[in-house]
């Protein structure tokens, strides 16, 4: 992937980047006096260099949380600060690359015009705008759609246009709300590659998604929220990071696929269950035990095609966290 051209638009940002949610709550009140608590007592610190996933069922409060982080909503209680200043103040000064769940761009605009408008508003120098627009158009495969009106774009292309406008500036903070919604498998994988390319020590990326597999692949930590409350923060690393998040527990049940050496499986995994088509379900107590057994199996001459946890550990954590809150 071509690197984003340097724009010199960092606005003199030098301090280490940090977002701090402190006891944040948001209550919606209707005219009739009914109130709904969308977020309650949410506290979390996100540091630079990190990709944070935000997971939660529908209505958990993810989008409300993001709206408060962008300063679109004022918290009813608590504060959201970025680098020590109120979130809205930070956004007005530096901007944030934001892809919203709902891609709301005037349907009468043409795709390229929309990008030029956003680039202008973002303060990108007039002479620089064509280069930046060309870059995001190429990056997101929008070349054949650049002259189309927004209303003529398919859901997937609209999603890519939304991501393109978020990447126009070389932002330190990227917030992506359901970024692969509507993307086909090819572009879902492309998006994951782009996010990995965007990872930088001085950048922070927040991804809210229902797709736990995606968060497992992309995020360093995943904040699981339900009913407006932070249930737990799960590290997607198998190492204990010491950052207060729950270290990823090791799955104990794996599906093993052998290309050859089927007769050797019982010698190494006596309890292995034959799942058919050369696949076996095996149970272990730890990663060293699994690795030792696999080494033994391979040493005996078996050819291992794949080893996959039976259930994503993040999915397991998610089920437990959401289950506990109900």
């Amino acid at each position: 992937m071509a690197k984003l051209p340097e724009s010199g638009d960092t606005d003199g940002r030098t301090a280490a980047l940090v977002i701090e949610f402190r006891n944040v709550g948001k209550t919606y009140k209707s005219l009739l006096g009914n109130s709904v608590k969308a977020v309650e007592e949410f506290s979390l610190v996100v540091g630079e260099g990190e990709i944070l996933g935000i997971a939660g069922p529908n209505g958990a409060g993810k989008t409300t949380l993001i709206a408060m982080m962008l300063g679109y909503l004022r918290p009813t209680t608590g504060t959201v600060e970025i680098n020590g200043v109120p979130a809205r103040q930070y956004v007005e000064r530096h901007g944030i690359g934001y892809l919203s769940e709902l891609i709301a761009i005037n349907p009468k605009w043409r795709a390229e015009t929309a990008l030029v408008r956003f680039a202008t508003l973002a303060g990108i120098a007039q002479s620089e705008i064509p280069r930046r627009v060309d870059y995001v158009v190429d990056l997101l495969g929008l070349a054949e759609h650049r002259d189309k009106k927004v209303k003529a774009l398919s859901k997937g292309n609209l999603q890519r246009l939304g991501l393109a406008q978020a990447l126009l500036r070389d932002e330190q903070i990227l917030v992506l709300d359901e970024p692969t919604h509507g993307l086909d498998p090819v572009w879902t994988q492309r998006f994951r590659d782009i996010v990995q390319e965007l990872r930088r020590p001085d950048r922070m990326i927040l991804i809210a998604s229902h797709n736990l597999d995606e968060l497992q692949r992309l995020a360093d930590r995943v904040a699981i929220i339900d009913r407006g409350r932070l249930q737990r923060v799960v590290s997607t690393s198998y190492e204990n990071t010491g950052d207060g998040s729950t270290a990823q527990p090791v799955a104990t049940r794996f599906r093993l696929t052998l290309a050859s050496g089927h007769e050797l499986i019982r010698a190494v995994f006596p309890q292995a269950e034959d799942a058919g088509r050369g696949e076996y379900d095996v149970t272990v107590n730890s990663l060293p035990e699994l690795n030792g057994a696999l080494a033994d199996l391979i040493g005996k001459g078996a050819l291992v095609a794949s080893v996959v946890p039976e259930r994503s550990v993040l999915e397991q954590q998610f089920r437990e966290a959401v289950g506990e809150s109900q």
Binding site: S7, G8, D9, D11, A67, L70, G71, Y72, L73, R74, V91, E92, R93, H94, G95, I96, G97, Y98, S100, L102, A104, I105, N106, R117, F118, T120, L121, A122, G123, I124, A125, Q126, G162, Q165, A166, R169, V175
Partner: protein
């Protein structure tokens, strides 16, 4: 990067949006309305058109002042609330942009647009009625834009049904002042806080006709609109964009 320069350059897009989405409508409405009411009288009155005492002059002032009010209503419709309703604010204000400055700029860009539209319409009217002063009419347009538009801006920040609210406030104030304005009870005191629309007819006649008007009336209209415009900006600053 220069945020202020970016916002200033964006004013050209804002003006383009005005021209396409609102300016053409204002021109069509103004032209048809003016033509339908003024041309038949001009046809009957014939060569007496120049006199300010002629019926044509009276109708021209009435129609042109009404067209200004409609133009302001069209221009201010959804000036802030439309972005909220459609969700456009999400991408606009994730950029390094102050929404207060963005909408303040939009208000004045639209003011330029309304004045430009009124310039075109009044130029046509001037051809038919040479005594009709274009500069005087544009002065009146600017005053009404501030007076009525300031209230419209405030309503667009605070409600989702701004054009309806503005029409209700503007016409309601005229009706209520007509009913209670001359009395001395609590209701007449209460209607005093309504927009001073009852001064508009006198101001229209004198400002369009002579280029001058009673200063107290002008200041009242201007101050009322400017106050609500400032309140609208304050509501933008301290309220939530997404509510």
């Amino acid at each position: 990067m220069n945020r202020a320069a970016g916002l200033a350059r964006y004013s050209l897009w804002q003006f383009r949006d005005f021209a396409v989405d609102r300016g053409l409508s204002i021109l069509v409405i103004g032209f048809l309305w003016g033509y339908a009411l003024i041309e038949p009288i001009r046809h009957v009155v014939g060569p007496q058109v120049a006199g300010s005492a002629s019926p044509l002059w009276v109708v021209a002032v009435q129609v042109s002042s009404a067209v200004v009010s409609v133009a302001v209503l069209v221009a201010l419709n959804g000036i802030v609330s439309a972005d909220r309703k459609a969700g456009y604010y999400r991408f606009l204000f994730s950029k390094p942009v102050n929404p207060v400055l963005f909408y303040a700029q939009l208000f004045f860009v639209y003011m330029v647009g309304v004045i430009a539209a009124m310039f075109l319409l009044s130029s046509l009217l001037h051809k038919m009625l040479p005594t009709f002063s274009i500069p005087h009419f544009l002065l009146y347009t600017a005053l009404v834009y501030i007076a009525m538009g300031g209230i419209g801006f405030f309503l667009s920040v605070t409600t989702r049904y701004d054009w309806l609210s503005l029409a209700a406030v503007w016409l309601g104030a005229r009706v209520l002042r007509g009913i209670y304005g001359a009395g001395s009870d609590w209701r007449s005191k209460l209607v005093e806080i309504l927009p001073p629309v009852h001064r508009l007819d006198d101001v229209a006649t004198s400002l369009i006709g002579t280029g001058s008007a009673h200063m107290a009336d002008v200041l009242w209209l201007f101050g009322y609109g400017a106050l609500f415009f400032a309140l609208g900006l304050a509501a933008l600053r301290w309220g939530s964009l997404a509510d």
